[in-house]
Amino acid sequence: MARFGMVIDTKKCVGCMDCVVACKTENNVPEGFCRDWIATDSKGTFPNIQMQIRTERCNHCDSPPCVSCCPCGASHVHDLGGVVLVHHDKCSGCKACIAACPYDARFINPDGYADKCTFCIHRVEEGLNPACVSVCPTRCMYFGDLDDPNSEVSRLLNSRKNKALVPEAGTKPQIFYID
């Protein structure tokens, strides 16, 4: 079985937010919300500054606390690629998942259910990349099957130093950053 994940090259990312806009139009994300976003970390004092810019979203964790804490069975791991999804019609909007997520990746859609990145599973099923990956002008995002040793994402992880965000939360995130 496939295990979908992403590798993001922060050397290339300029934080332009195209991924955010594209996710909004692709998925009709309601006004005032977004399923992905840009984070900027900088340290040092002027002019000796180190800076990392990266695009973030749901990490589609292998041990997703949002799934284990969900009282309604709405949050679940999809049978394709381990993608974490929400059954909108089962979701009561109790926000337990929002509290459980170490990445602050979820929000309550105005229609009442927990909403977040789906890895654009509807596109992936069509053989396409997620919208954010396919629009990125810097081509800093790679999406693919982490279980396939020949996939681009696996090759990147094997050849370059990488790290996931908040690994100490123990949720086994599936998005990796290289720089």
Binding site: C16, V21, E31, P47, I49, M51, D79, L80, H122, R139
Partner: protein, 737 residues
Amino acid sequence: MNSLSRRKFLKITGATAGLVVAGSTLGGLVKKSNAYIDKKYENGKGVKKIPTFCDLCFWKCGSIAYVKNGELWKIEGNPEDPLSRGRLCPRGTGGPGAFRDPDRLKSPLIRKTERGQEQWVEVTWDEALSYIADKMNRIKTSFGPESMAYFVHGIGGNFIKHMMKAYGTPNISAPSFAQCRGPRDIGFRLTFGEDVGSPERMDIQNAKCLVLIGSHLGENMHNTQVQEFAEMNGAGGSIIVVDPRFSVAAGKAKYYLPIKPGTDIALLLAWMKVIVDENLFDKDYVDKYGFGFEQFKAEIQQYTPEWAYTETGIEPELIRTSAREMAKHKPATLIHSGRHTTWYGDDTQRSRAIALLNALMGSWGRKGGYYYPASMSVPNYPYPPYPKPEKGKVDNPGNTIYPFATEGHDTITNGVREATITGKPYPIKGWITYGTNLLYAMPNQDETLKAIQNLDLLVVVDVVPTELAGWADVVLPESVYLERFDDINVEFFKEPFVALRQPVMDSPNEQKPNWWIAKKLADKLGLGHYFPWNDIEEYIKYRMTAAGLSYDELKKKGIIKGAKQPIFFNEGINPEFPTPSGKIEFYSLQLAGLGHDPVPKFKKHKEPPPGFFRLIFGRSPVHTFSKTQNNKLLTEMQDENELWLNINIAKRLGVKSGDYVKLKNQDGVVSNKIKVKATERIRQDCVYMTHGFGHTSKKLRQAFLKGASDSQMITQYTVDPLMGGTGMNVNFVTLEL
């Protein structure tokens, strides 16, 4: 869908989902998802894909608009297009927000009270155009056709430009020259004999070393450039950034030079001295193609890195190291020409210094440097000849005031404005503007308003009610780019191609495309014979057929590419330099002959008085000029600008990130409130904001009074004596807490 909530909709459609097995590159294990995947977002049935090109900025990226069940869904890059390479920037992706903007101009308007009071009567197109034609005829009779001026931004303005030439005026102007890239184009022309053009003829992709001087690629989303920048950086290319602010690009740089604003020429001269002294330049190239190198060499001897340190604040060793880094990668060392280059009034000379540094690297005409753009031969439509104006351009009589803003270039906007105020050398009585909000594009808003008071006619053609529209006599609502044909784009680029803009949706109200407006107005002016075609498709078909190309193919694909052409010297380009000497002019006799510096010299600029900061401004990746701040998709990304303030200064002043302050400039002008970003990422002697915010047009409900307007603060400007450009980084502000 309006009356049906999304949640309900999902329940209804859920019953039929999960049945279809999709063929896909991910293999047979892929099955359709269950009900929680909204069917609305699937590809396939009901989705129309229409190729066109973008208008969120001037880059003209090839796009594919997706229309689902008659509704505009999304816009992606056209993979066939060499500019977008299949990927748009966030503004292009946010194009649907321009289409859906509820505040768009909807019908033609005629002013009914005093100018600027924004009291309007909605009129028909026939009434609006008759009104304009009547005024234009009166201006022609009383003052001559030269007394009408046209201000334009973008390819959409081509047909009104044609109409204005047919009417008989030479005064066709664009802020893109004197408020933006003019100095750069003249500086390069004085050196290599040719402009840098737009899109800039830079092979960033193959550069091994890229030098950015104030250019903030990544925040400035000139699409192809940003893509190539990420590519060369990802491939391990060396980046050198010179900027008073630690930009996004600075974060990617091997060397960051935190320059004191206004001292770039000092740095450039010192760099060149190091490179010449240490024999690091491309000697064969300079010997073969250079003119006046020995005089140039003698002239720059005085500019040691130690001297430059006192002006720029950059350590001499960093100047030397970064110069050597450039030389290491020559000729694939590309010193970016910049684009918005109207900073201090000596900008043509700074651009010339940049051109000369490129010449030392031998990058002009070489891979990883400046290429020779390729284009397709597409004949123009055979119009009758234009009447020859009796009077020359109003901005620069006899080309005597600004000797290098010559006929081949756009008229100087500020020259037209000045003539409108003074009536000299002759009066300007009418303006038509297209796609440019002059109150935000030009420095000193008071002068623009003063000029407007002298007009008998101000016509504003735009898609949204800009501040300038508020002062108009007649406002003409144009269709947004997704609803119209424009002139075809016969691009000058790495590879030749022609591109089509075509309608994706119908205009929702009375909006009309510019070609229709121009043709109808020409009819009213008795100039109908200049528009012999019935509609624009007939015009485009004519040009395509004359070029031996298929219009049907263009409609279907959006882009037709021509055969690959040589673009570098080693591919067969003849190294020709159309300068007076026929060579790259290290020493410029034409500058010397007119009493200007034949080799650029550093001149000190006025520094901020105690307690003041120099105001510098730049671009946001999600906005274009002052055009997009009412586009909700984009304002969700950024709905106001921030004031970048050095964190130590902020502490001293007792402000912190998130606080709102007002700015007061040296002339006592006070801004709207702006949110502070207290940061390590900027020098202590300047503050920075992105351009285009702080709108005061109440009709732009999304943008109204969000952030502060740099344009409002720019009351002072220094005019470039070579070409009339307005240096605008010469304003100083204090903070009002």
